[in-house]
Symmetry: C2
Subunit: 135 residues, 2 copies
């Protein structure tokens, strides 16, 4: 069902300080920032041997990340993303087990150009889980 | 400096519900719980292809995880752990760059029987980062 963990997403106020932390201090490979106006965020990815960290900062005041940062002044881990085979089948199986999907359950296109849905944290130990299609 | 991300740690009230979620619903491989009285926690690991999730629940009321759960009712992502070569050298380099280590900076033994230190979240985008020795 779950192929791997795709990435860990960290919400930050702006990308400058975290890019300095990961690129210049920790010597990681960091991609150039890219804006996603539909999601109200700007992102870059930190590549590790086995997984990526997604750094996300808000570009609109009503972005979900702006709301998260109001509650988490320094930023923080926002969600983890699982890569799954057959996203719609996994979604339907989870719903049948009582796990709620955020929104209407129709997959959107995420920052990695893959179809995604999010599970409601209260059904997943307080963790916001993104499910990303492998295709 | 950083070899990989070792694991993502999620704090939970008890292990029963999350083990059911990961083992029976998501069909992941989950290890048997193990108690670490020195840290006041009970843990198990969920194995993915590329990384592990550590599920941690408190076994004492004054465990740091008990404190975290008071602020996060449903649980939540507690920290991420980087595997590093030469832990003491990395610690000293980070301190020289103004990154604070929690406590006296002397490595402790973590739940995977490796030497560990933690970085103070306010210097790491609000993220609690554990550094774990590769040996």
């Amino acid at each position: 069902m779950i192929l791997k963990i795709s990435h860990i997403a960290i919400a930050v106020k702006d990308l400058n300080q975290p890019v300095n932390f990961y690129k210049n201090i920790l010597k990681c490979d960091v991609t150039k920032p890219h804006k996603y106006p539909n999601h109200g965020i700007e992102c870059c990815f930190v590549h590790f041997q086995n997984i990526n960290i997604e750094l996300m900062s808000p570009i609109t005041p009503n972005s979900p990340i702006s709301f998260f940062l109001k509650k988490n002044y320094y930023g923080g881990i926002h969600h983890i993303c699982f890569t799954v085979e057959n996203l719609l089948s996994v979604r339907d199986k989870l719903i049948s087990k009582g796990i709620e999907v955020i929104g209407d359950g129709v997959p959107q296109i995420g920052s990695r150009d893959k179809k995604i849905i999010f599970l409601r944290p209260k059904f997943c130990q307080g963790t916001l889980i993104e499910l990303e299609s492998d295709k």
